[in-house]
């Protein structure tokens, strides 16, 4: 059930393409993230949806109706900004009430709704405070309540958590998702933080240089990246620069190392063609030298460094001069010491083979 349709959007600033040929169909109630590095066009796309920018070409349709030329104040889309953009001259209550006053609701209706929304974002007792008296996280909660107050057709969030510190960021993003699901509101969320995008979205749109690289569910994006950019931008990964050795058997060679990638490469790649093989750190198992192991790929490696990341420790290794990263459970840290010789094991199915993409 398509609700918000973006069809062939193009936006250029002078010579520079900000967005080129953007196509996306969002279902009602869906939570979509636009993810990419700064300058990839994600914010411009959001601003086109909001009506703050007019695309050079393409259409924006909402519930079947072409709204490309509709001015922002007639679109009924709630917007949350990175800089909160609360009205400094109004209390939290006044900020949330603003949109309701514009739509000329009765005083009792407004009051009931504002109280309800401030409770929803957990700020019921801060209604008489001014933005300057609230913390960043609280201000963004008020901004969220303000955007939700008008019962927006689409909720737009432009890097809403980027100005907040780590702890608040994680708790507030969970809350945004909770409220979004509770209200079933269609949401477009712009972020450059891949962890954020993966953790709260129904679908993620990965963008680079004004173009869409991949659209998919978080798990698709993470486990089946379609391009080299997606593979390297999302999460951490080891890259082997290799040449196809025996395409039919799925064998490639990276330096002195022979890898089994577990699928027939011959339809896609010729013999001797240069490819990149990506392996996620959590797909790698580390075994002690001499330990009996079973895996499609077993490579001898030397442990270069051990970094504690919290729940996992990240091991940097070298295997015949090639750098490799692997994550193991922090409980197993005593098994590993720098300079140790170990075995790196991973299944053929953990390998993603991709053609070199120009950067």
């Amino acid at each position: 059930m398509s609700y918000l349709e973006l069809d062939g959007l193009v936006k250029t600033y002078g010579e520079v393409d900000a967005v080129s040929d953007f196509n996306l169909v969002v279902d009602k109630g869906e939570f979509i993230s636009l993810l990419g590095p700064s300058g990839c066009g994600k914010t411009t796309t959001l601003r086109i949806i909001a009506g703050f920018e007019t695309p050079n070409r393409g259409t924006v349709r909402l519930d079947g109706e072409d709204i490309t030329e509709v001015p922002p104040h007639h679109r009924g889309m709630g917007m949350v900004f990175q800089s909160y953009a609360l009205f400094p001259n109004m209390t939290a209550w006044g900020n949330v009430a603003f949109g309701l006053r514009v739509s000329k609701q009765s005083a009792s209706q407004i009051n009931q709704r504002v109280v309800e929304l401030l409770d929803l974002v957990g700020l019921g007792d801060a209604s008489q405070k001014y933005p300057a008296e609230l913390s960043g996280g609280q201000q963004q909660r008020v901004a969220l309540a303000r955007a939700l107050a008008i019962e927006p057709k689409v909720l737009l969030l432009d890097e809403p958590l980027s100005a907040l510190d780590a702890v608040v960021r994680v708790s507030l993003r969970q809350e945004i998702r909770r409220i979004q699901s509770q209200l079933g509101i269609t949401t477009v969320y712009v972020t450059h933080d891949q962890e954020e995008a993966l953790s709260i979205s129904d679908r993620v749109v990965v963008m680079r240089r004004a173009e869409i690289e991949q659209i998919g569910t978080p798990i698709e994006i993470y486990t089946s990246p379609k391009t080299q950019f997606v593979a390297t931008f999302i999460g951490t990964t080891t890259r082997f620069e290799a040449v196809v050795d025996d395409g039919r058997a799925g064998r490639v060679r990276a330096g002195d190392v022979e890898l089994v990638v577990g699928r027939d490469l011959s339809p896609e790649f010729g013999e001797g063609e240069r490819v990149n093989v990506f392996v996620r750190p959590e797909a790698i198992r580390i075994a002690q030298a001499g330990e009996p192991v079973q895996a499609d790929n077993i490579l001898p490696a030397t442990l270069e460094s051990v970094t504690l990341l919290g729940p996992v420790i990240r091991l940097s290794l070298t295997c015949h001069g090639l750098p490799l990263v692997a994550d193991v459970n922090t409980n197993e840290r005593s098994r590993f010491a720098r300079g140790e010789d170990v075995l790196v094991c991973f299944q053929a199915s953990a390998c993603r083979v991709m053609r070199e993409q120009e950067s």
Binding site: G51, R75, S83, A85, F87, P88, G99, A147, I150
Partner: protein, 283 residues
């Protein structure tokens, strides 16, 4: 601070003397019986104020000047605030140009401005030349930097663009956004600009004389008239002029702290308090 630099103290005292001695002298002169043949005044009197107030012109010129000042402030706000807002919002590339234009009045002498305006508006259908409305319009140009600068810095201090977009996304139209969101947040700038314009116009002599002359007598014209007859009455007029400036400042300050709420109100107070000192000298 034991070892104060004596050179510093001296220069500060010199500066204060330079600024305040003439004002002090004016105050004393306005209540002195005579002060032209002795070091200290020969007795004190309020006669000069009585003469000033009893002058049949006093109320007329006072009303004229207050009206001119108020009309100029109003016209200036209505013209400049929306323009400055729009340029900050939509044409940021035109800002350098606007900044340049807004300083031009400093570079154009009042005489030149007056002659140009008379020449331009002397003919044609409007026939505004030599009328008080034209004087108001000339004052708007003349005081443009005083209004524009504080308004522009207020606009720069708040994120005008984001606030506007936030208001629009909530369904607010342009006029509503300007009145309910932008104006309250740039009020400190508008108030201090208005104060400067009011005080400047209230004490302005050259343009008024050249553009309308005796047909529409203003307070400073009457003051100048008395400087030629009796310096003590002129001093009384000056003191009244100072007082008007101070009272307007206080009224605006009071309105500002009463009208704008807490956080914003405090800023207005601080900004205006510092402005007040500078205004005293211009009148």
């Amino acid at each position: 601070m034991k070892n104060r630099n004596p050179a510093g103290t001296v220069s500060i005292l010199l500066f204060l003397g330079y600024m305040f001695l003439p004002i002090l002298a004016t105050y004393i002169f306005s209540v002195a019986v005579r002060w032209d043949r002795s070091i200290l005044p020969e007795g004190l009197t309020l006669d000069w104020y009585r003469t000033a107030f009893q002058d049949r012109w006093f109320l007329i010129v006072f009303t004229h000047s207050i009206t001119l000042s108020a009309a100029t402030v109003l016209t200036s706000v209505v013209l400049i605030v929306p323009t400055a807002y729009w340029v900050h919002l939509r044409l940021p590339r035109a800002l350098p140009l606007l900044n340049l234009i807004s300083t031009l009045p400093f570079a154009i002498p009042a005489v030149v401005l007056a002659l140009g305006l008379i020449k331009l508006y002397g003919q044609g259908p409007l026939q505004l030349a030599r009328t008080p409305p034209m004087l108001v319009l000339a004052y708007v140009i003349f005081t443009l930097p005083f209004m524009y600068r504080p308004v522009a810095s207020s606009l720069e201090a708040v994120d005008v663009r984001r606030l506007t977009e936030a208001a629009q996304s909530l369904g607010a139209s342009w006029p509503r956004t300007l009145v309910q969101v932008i104006l309250p947040n740039i009020m400190p700038g508008i108030l201090s600009g208005g104060l400067l314009v009011f005080a400047t116009v209230f004490g302005e002599f050259t343009l008024a004389t050249l553009l309308v002359g005796a047909r529409f007598k203003t307070f400073p014209m009457q003051l100048v008239y008395y400087t030629r007859r009796d310096g003590r009455i002129a001093s009384a007029y000056s003191v009244i002029s100072f007082t008007v400036a101070w009272v307007t400042s206080l009224v605006i300050l009071w309105v500002a702290t009463w009208g704008t709420r807490r956080g914003a109100g405090r800023d207005v107070k601080g900004e205006l308090a510092s402005k007040q000192a500078s205004v005293g000298g211009t009148v």
